[in-house]
Assembly symmetry: C2
Homo-oligomer: 209 residues x 2
């Protein structure tokens, strides 16, 4: 067991550095599995059976365990590319907006867009894998962005005064649950409902637009 563990660690380190002591076929499989995982996670979220990822990669399930140590290792090997980059980009871009009303609109719209396009995001937000430190960290960053936004918004009156960070969190989490367990609505319905939400939480003071 110690041996397998070491091997896994080595692979995951290699994902960052480039010097590899892996055999050529193993290196190839790592890449095939990574890209198959990205595809599968995009389509069906982080809980897709590993068997399916393996099939898509043209390897056996056991190879995923050999190379990544299990689901969490695999997730951590692709989560940045799959979710974190986009999510952080949204957060970053939100911060650049001057008008607080715009910020709120953009943030909620963009997050909901991500949730719709990337089911994996929902698994992160729902903390489906609490054992992954990396996933929890992404989640934490999201919550932080939430609270930052709400603090700014409440001060400015762009949101109704009783609206809390918990409310925003619930909005996002409930949507994650709906997308995860329900049937996906057509995109235009989904976007329309995003607008209802926004109109329901905005303060009454801002009569602009």
């Amino acid at each position: 067991m110690g041996e397998r563990q070491e091997e896994t660690v080595r692979v995951m380190a290699d994902a960052a550095s480039s010097g590899s002591r892996l055999r050529a076929d193993a290196r190839r499989n790592v890449e095939q599995i990574r890209s198959a995982a990205i595809g599968a996670f995009q389509g069906r979220g982080l809980t897709v059976p590993l068997e399916e990822v393996a099939k898509a990669a043209g390897v056996s399930k056991a190879t995923i365990f050999n190379r990544f140590g299990g689901r969490i290792g695999l997730i951590e090997a692709v989560i940045e590319e799959l979710v974190a980059n986009e999510l952080f980009a949204v957060i970053r871009h939100t911060r650049t907006l001057d008008d607080i009303g715009e910020r709120i609109t953009y943030y909620l719209t963009a997050i909901r867009d991500l949730q719709y396009r990337q089911p994996a995001v929902n698994d992160v937000l729902l903390q489906t894998f609490p054992h992954s430190q990396q996933l929890m960290e992404i989640c934490r960053a999201g919550n932080e962005a939430n609270e930052e936004l709400i603090a700014a918004a409440r001060a400015s009156g762009a949101l109704r005064p009783e609206f809390t960070a918990g409310d925003l969190h619930a909005l996002v989490v409930d949507n994650a649950l709906a997308l995860k367990h329900g049937t996906r609505p057509p995109r235009d319905d989904y976007d329309r409902r995003t607008r209802y939400l926004l109109d329901g939480i905005r303060g009454h003071s801002s009569a602009s637009g």
Copy 2:
């Protein structure tokens, strides 16, 4: 199997009529199981393990099968008392309201209240047991009420014009999913969020109140 079936039918008929050919202990168990089921379904929804219902009733799981034929039989023996009465009362009361704005407010608030208080409602709305004709019928009645309400509301401008019956349906179903799979928020948070929803879907014409 034919025998067991007949027996089950007899019990379920007895729930309506009163003449019983059941032995005294069986009759007592039927009542204990019914009331345990109501308690369990109230607390944990219609998917609670039958084992738990049995334990609460002080009988073994097999007795539930003897008396009710299985989960669906049991559900149908209590669903009226548990859900249908309240749900139909809400629908009926909605129809008595004159002001269309009030109707919408009342309906959505009351449905969401039911969903919060009675997890069983969510299992009905989510059609968790599509094999139960009775449950499907309740569900159908709910959808009908939805559509009736939306038709009236759109004509009057109390809702924003782009709001559809599908939107209302999604609102209710998404909430059902959130309650079923997520953590219940405190009641006051939940009610506050109900208000956000209402404010998000109302038409801009009604400036009353």
